[in-house]
């Protein structure tokens, strides 16, 4: 059976960032509603970091490498996974830099 989510997929940066993105999407509103009872608010980026830390720890535990000083690295790695999951586009807003002009001239797609 072809699984959508496998440990191999989750252990890749892209897979983890994508799963983190959707976890944030699925949980942001319920968590905001819950914390709102105490007038608390959790920024989306912070929620992404929390999920990324949990995912990293989970994957490393599965791989048997969540030990010793590696434990301290999980929340640090999670910063970048969370950033990737919550990608902002300042760099992409540049005026068309790094674009490849396609040679195709087809009139229809």
């Amino acid at each position: 059976m072809n699984e959508i989510l496998t440990w191999d997929y989750l252990s890749t940066f892209g897979g983890m960032a994508l799963v983190c993105f959707w976890l944030v999407q699925l949980t942001k509103d319920p968590i905001d509603a819950l914390l709102g009872r105490w007038n608390w608010h959790l920024k989306t980026a912070h929620l992404a970091w929390i999920w990324a830390t949990l995912l990293t720890a989970l994957v490393w535990a599965y791989q048997g490498v969540l030990t010793g000083w590696n434990i301290a690295l999980a929340p640090l790695n999670a910063i970048f996974i969370g950033l990737a999951a919550m990608r902002t586009h300042e760099a992409g807003a540049a005026d068309g830099a790094n674009l490849t002009e396609s040679p195709e001239t087809a009139e229809t797609e």
Binding site: N2, E3, I4, T12, F13, G14, G15, A17, L18, F21, W22, V24, Q25, L26, K28, D29, T44, A84, M86, R87, T88, H89, G92, A93, D95, G96, N98, L99, T100, E101, S102, E104, T105, A106, E107, T108, E109
Partner: protein, 190 residues
């Protein structure tokens, strides 16, 4: 779900009806791949509270002009055309594979193309053939909102064609496209 109320997106599955689009190495028609992915993206976006307008949601004929007219009537924040690719005589061994995303040069769709493309590549691990500009694509030229056209993979490549016929792989593509659209709406349109 992080609600994105008051947002509207047009999804345009390429080809349909008598026009099968590219025909894959295993005989699969591009129109079926495009429609399946678009329907998955629609479900994901609607779950996020985004209104979705499909140019077509069944396998039927629809001209490019009709697609553009539907898009322009919708008053949407963006339009994403979904296609699969095929290589021509320049690639006789059919080795080309990977994801390409197109937009018009110098337009507001550049950021949308970047984000959707990045999430698609990230979701699938497919070869990254880059974001490209193309003035010839009708849906990019004739639509009002920022428009991108994604080429989800090469049906002429045996391995990639096999992947594109797998529901799980197509769902990953849909996850990537939807994530890119949501991220763009949140960061750029908010």
């Amino acid at each position: 779900m992080n609600n994105m109320g008051n947002r509207r997106v047009v999804l345009d599955p390429g080809h349909g009806g008598a026009d099968p689009g590219a025909v894959g190495a295993n005989g699969v028609h591009e129109k079926r791949i495009n429609l399946f992915i678009a329907q998955e993206v629609r479900r994901l976006l609607e779950a996020a509270g985004i209104e979705v307008v499909m140019t077509l949601d069944t396998d039927r004929n629809l001209t490019l002009a009709e697609r553009a007219a539907i898009t322009n009537r919708a008053g949407a924040d963006c339009v994403v055309s979904i296609h699969a690719n095929a290589s021509g005589t320049a690639d006789p061994e059919r080795k080309a594979r990977g994801i390409e995303t197109y937009c018009l040069p110098g337009g507001p769709a550049k950021v949308l193309a970047d984000v959707v493309h990045e999430f698609m590549v990230r979701a699938t691990g497919a070869p990254d053939r880059g974001v490209r500009t193309n003035r010839a694509f009708y849906m990019l030229r004739k639509t009002d909102p920022p428009a991108v056209l994604v080429e989800t993979g090469y049906l002429t490549n045996v391995a990639e064609c096999a992947l594109l016929t797998e529901p799980t792989y197509r769902f990953k593509l849909a996850l990537g496209i939807a994530a890119g659209i949501i991220a763009w709406l949140r960061e750029v349109k908010s």
